[in-house]
């Protein structure tokens, strides 16, 4: 029964193939399949939900269990971003497809940009808007960006045992603003753990980039989209 329904809904395109193209890091293939799906009349949000995101999930699982590595993750994310860029004009007509804005940065004193950059890329590939503040970001700068966008999602990274000590203060600064108080804050970086995240008043900890995307999706479901749309 379900098979028949799926076949009817997705007549002319195969979400499984799109997911496989994303998971397999095939940007041209993913783009071709998205074009074919649109031509077959599939709605843009369904293409994202049934094709692109499951592909990223599969890739994330393979990354978590050690079957995929950084290069595969980056190329998969590129495939998803290319597909999403192509879909953007169609998605903008569909308010329901909107996922939130994440303000992201590596904390003050810390220049380690790589993990945070990967999180930014994966979030974009999963359809989030990302305001990437870069590295060496102060609490005031985080607060300013969050208040300006009324962003509900914040991600902070620290790679040094020195700079992670400053994260609690940055979160306190952030919480001074009304948007900051309402925001969900995730932290990550090699020297951190969940207990540390809880101690400094963060709402969650992600052990790697794919876990960060899952965490922001959970946060997004909790807070809805109240921020200023770009």
């Amino acid at each position: 029964m379900e098979r028949t329904e799926r076949a009817a809904r997705f007549d002319g395109w195969d979400p499984g193939m799109l997911a496989a193209a994303v998971a397999g890091g095939d940007p041209q293939g993913a783009l071709r399949l998205v074009q074919a799906a649109l031509a077959a009349g599939a709605p843009a949000p369904a293409i994202v939900q049934e094709g692109i995101l499951p592909g990223l999930d599969r890739l994330g699982e393979r990354f978590s269990c050690g079957e995929a590595f950084l290069p595969e993750l980056m190329v998969g994310a590129k495939a998803a971003i290319g597909a999403l860029d192509f879909l953007r004009p169609h998605l903008e007509r569909e308010p329901s497809a909107y996922v939130g804005t994440v303000v992201l940065g590596t904390v003050q004193g810390d220049m380690h940009d790589i993990g945070k950059g990967l999180v930014a890329m994966l979030l974009r590939s999963a359809g989030f808007e990302v305001v990437d503040l870069g590295s060496n970001v102060s609490g005031a700068r985080f607060r300013e960006a969050v208040e300006e966008r009324r962003a509900r999602l914040v991600g902070m990274s620290a790679l040094l045992t020195t700079t992670m000590q400053g994260m609690g203060g940055i979160i306190r600064t952030l919480r001074e603003g009304p948007a900051g108080r309402a925001a969900r804050i995730a932290v990550g970086g090699a020297p951190l753990d969940a207990a540390f995240a809880e101690r400094i008043g963060a709402d969650g900890y992600a052990k790697d980039a794919t876990a960060a995307v899952a965490l922001f999706r959970k946060f997004q479901a909790e807070v809805g989209a109240a921020e200023v749309r770009p």
Partner: protein, 377 residues
């Protein structure tokens, strides 16, 4: 037993009189300049801080500190080019001889990658067109032979020679992080061209340097970071396609021209899956044994599975224990690593990577006092 004999004995997998201690033998196993200032004040050592590297701002450890802690190593480094001078740029930035631009942000102590010359155009043609460093620049070996001879004759410690025997790191800086890792899948012709050219340039630099120091150094440092916190950065298949053949060529070259010096390989992160290959292609010792990374913390297992062929260099946790632990916790950590890794030689004990700014001098003292006390029993 002299320090030099102690390190050599340990690296030959025989039990020395005590576990050799390491601080400042390489620019990856030293101490951040700011922590070093505090340490010297604590120890009452008065000397201006000299740097081992400009980019990382780590200290060149003084003999007074080396003697105080009974450190068994000392560094010797290839010299800078003399026909090239780093180009000073605005905003505390500079361009190095590879064409890579580094910048020190306001309030920070080290320089960070700012611009990569192959960011915009990543093609084999761009590799050919690029202005590469001159490997034969005589500055690189200026005074090096004399210095090596002098250190070997006048000092006791094992001499660790850093001739920048790496290629992966330079390639990553030249291309930039994001492009580098996706090129490994989508732009392989460029990657091979880039890696070949970097390695060729490096071998051109290393050859004369080894000739200058041959017979006077005990250990040659190599290193390229391949590990992330939870897993290697790349798959085994990719390691074997892009890295291993070039590493083998590099290690063969170091072995052929190194006058019997051991090969110490530095690689951060979780790299257990690559260890059998690395041993097979000729590394003698692994630094820093990042015990906070996945699979690296079970040092008893590392010794059991790889210790017959591989020595361990480092091992004392810097993610948690050194900066935040009590002196007792530091002693416990030192005891554990010595028990796990030190049987029948095969261990040079030190911190995992450079001791960071926030580590209190008392903890640095606790590390080396425990190493000295527990390493002899």
């Amino acid at each position: 037993m002299t320090s030099r004999e102690r390190v050599r004995t340990a690296l030959n997998h025989r039990a020395p009189d005590r576990v050799p201690l390491e601080l400042g033998g390489t620019a990856n196993s030293s101490i951040a300049a700011l922590a070093y200032e505090k340490l010297k004040a604590h120890l009452g050592v008065q000397a201006p801080t000299r740097l081992l590297t400009k980019q990382g701002q780590v200290a060149d450890v003084d003999d007074a500190v080396r003697e105080r802690f009974r450190i068994d190593t000392r560094p010797l480094r290839i010299r800078p080019a003399e026909r090239w001078e780093d180009v000073a740029l605005p905003d505390d930035a500079y361009q190095d001889e590879w064409g890579v631009i580094w910048q020190r942000p306001p309030g920070m102590n080290s320089y960070f990658l700012h611009h990569s010359p192959f960011e915009a155009e990543a093609t084999p043609e761009a590799v050919r067109r690029h202005r590469w460093p001159d490997p034969a620049d005589p500055g690189r070996v200026r005074g090096l032979a004399e210095e090596a001879r002098r250190l070997a004759a006048e000092t006791d410690q094992a001499i660790i020679f850093d001739c920048t025997a790496s290629f992966w790191a330079e390639a990553e800086w030249l291309r930039g992080f994001a492009g580098f890792y996706s090129d490994l899948i989508t732009n392989t012709a460029f990657m091979h061209a880039l890696l070949d050219k970097v390695l060729e340039t490096k071998l051109g630099m290393i050859g004369p340097a080894l000739e200058a120091v041959r017979g006077h150094v005990d250990v040659i440092l190599s290193g390229d970071d391949l590990g992330a916190q939870h897993a290697p950065m790349i798959s085994m298949a990719m390691y074997r396609e892009f890295v291993r053949p070039r590493q083998k060529a590099l290690f063969d070259f170091l072995r052929r021209n190194g006058g019997g010096a051991k090969i110490l390989y530095h690689c951060d992160g979780a790299i257990v899956p690559f260890l059998p290959d690395l041993i097979q292609i000729g590394i003698d010792a692994l630094n820093p044994v990042q015990v906070s990374a996945a699979g690296m913390g079970d040092t008893a297992r590392l010794k059991r599975e790889y210790g017959k062929d591989l020595s361990f260099w480092g091992g004392v946790d810097t993610a948690r224990v050194l900066p935040f632990g009590s002196p007792q916790e530091i002693r416990d950590e030192v005891r554990r690593r010595i028990e796990d890794l030190g049987r029948d030689g095969g261990l040079v004990l030190g911190a995992v990577h450079n001791i960071q700014e926030e580590v209190p001098p008392e903890n640095v003292c606790a590390l080396f006092e425990a190493g000295l006390a527990l390493g002899s029993s």
